[in-house]
Symmetry: C2
């Protein structure tokens, strides 16, 4: 396994692999790996001949008020974990390599990014789609793997790849969870013990919603109200959003008819957590 720091080196490796007829899988990450990341890498390993991951905490997707500077980083630990699951190359550039002086180009997906995290984090998706476009041009993958915990991000990337005719297959992978149901996140390390307990209200509220859905409930508000009440009954929680959205457009639906997702963002103490569940899919916990 090799760590590459420049776009030029990475592109040379990608060109060489492609010339040899080898399929490249790519998992973009911000590092500080948990079991969810390693699962994405294992999927990548299976669907192609070689596996590239990127480790890059992308400044353009953080607002000035957010945790860019304090976002957890541990390249040495990540390196060992990546090697353990069979990663071939880690692309880990410096900020000046990705955004040199005079940088001024952005990619924006307009529709599916408007709701949910697009409201609370107005620059977030523009940063994500821009850095992913850059990374796709650098790594030149045949297939890329995204976690579905960031469901709106997964829908946004899928939409961007299709709209811009990127010749890349996007694979979405189910959320990896702690044994008690908490969705894996690099930000879980921020949680104090009491907050960790309250954070369980997110995944449990997904079960609550799925139970209502399986019982025949299709009115969004009839599901949303008890979910909100349940989460709010836990100390240290502050709801950012709890919504039911169409998975194609990510706009709110009043009644579940086509494929719909229950999407949550909740501040637990100072830590913002997200989780989601697509109605009708198995809820693996």
């Amino acid at each position: 396994m090799q760590i590459l720091r420049t776009a030029k080196e990475m592109q040379a490796v990608a060109d060489q692999q492609r010339r040899q007829g080898r399929r490249i899988a790519f998992v973009p990450t911000m590092g500080y790996f948990h079991a969810g990341h390693l699962n994405l890498m294992r999927v990548g390993r299976k669907v192609a001949d070689c596996l590239v991951i990127s480790i890059y905490v992308n400044p353009t997707q953080f607002a000035p008020t957010e945790d860019f500077a304090s976002y957890p980083r541990d390249l040495e630990r990540d390196r060992g974990l990546a090697e353990g699951v069979g990663v071939d190359w880690i692309f880990s550039p410096a900020d000046r390599e990705m955004y040199p002086e005079g940088y001024q180009t952005y990619v924006e997906v307009e529709g599916v990014t408007r709701n949910l995290c697009g409201i609370s984090r107005p620059r977030f998706f523009r940063g994500v789609t821009t850095v992913c476009t850059k990374l796709f041009h650098i790594v030149k993958p045949h297939v890329t793997v995204f976690g579905r915990k960031d469901f709106q991000q997964y829908v946004t990337i899928t939409r961007m790849v299709r709209d811009l005719n990127m010749d890349i297959e996007v694979v979405g992978v189910q959320t990896t969870r702690e044994p008690d149901g908490l969705a894996m996140s690099s930000r879980n390390v921020y949680l104090k013990p009491q907050e960790r307990e309250s954070a369980l209200s997110l995944s449990r509220s997904l079960r609550l919603a799925q139970g209502l859905y399986e019982g025949g409930e299709r009115e969004a508000e009839a599901i949303l109200a008890p979910v909100r009440t349940y989460i709010a009954s836990h100390p240290h929680t502050e709801i950012d959003y709890v919504r039911v959205c169409d998975t194609a457009t990510m706009t709110d639906v009043a009644r579940i008819e086509d494929e719909a997702v229950l999407a949550l963002a909740v501040r637990v103490g100072k830590t913002r957590l997200i989780d989601n569940h697509v109605f009708g899919e198995p809820l693996e916990m």
Copy 2:
């Protein structure tokens, strides 16, 4: 020579060429060819092993008030001319192939697009950078060829390719002119005989400016004032802009110190014409 209508077919051809180790040159066009287009194709022919051109009048770069519907089109004639200069594939998609229902992704270069045509045509560059990104992903070229008559567009594409790490070489080609100096443009067919005469004031004013520059003049306003006066002295002309800009940032300069361009946009009758000259370069007419 073959005409391809879908992104999928074009990508399959590009993949096949790349697997055989052949370099792909690409010239994006809106068709209705004149000698300038054919010159770009001849350059493309020389710098790679095979040559793809696109013919597509891109709706997203026209404002509702502009000439999208009436923009001149003649695919049969274009096909013969392209074949004559050795084009291998023409990619000519339908609008529904490029912008299907639900389309919502745009690429924007922020800095160099703000001035000049970015003022008079606010959506123009976003349309150009978006369609070029799509075409690059469809044609997968090693090298792409742009005319420098659209100088701000050439700078914008160069900036986008660098910012988004597209692994493509951008070649800029000098403006092709009529024997009397008028820059070739598909829109020249709109000009009535008297307007055609007045249109010469654009290229002649470039000579005027170059003369002053060669005589040692470096103050932008001292060059701009007589250029404006000269163009305005011709019937049917209405100046959109006449400016001296830094070629790296496309912002106005008061004094010519680094590389600078004199950029003109003038309405002659109902036809908007552009022309430009980079100070110090040979002015070939």
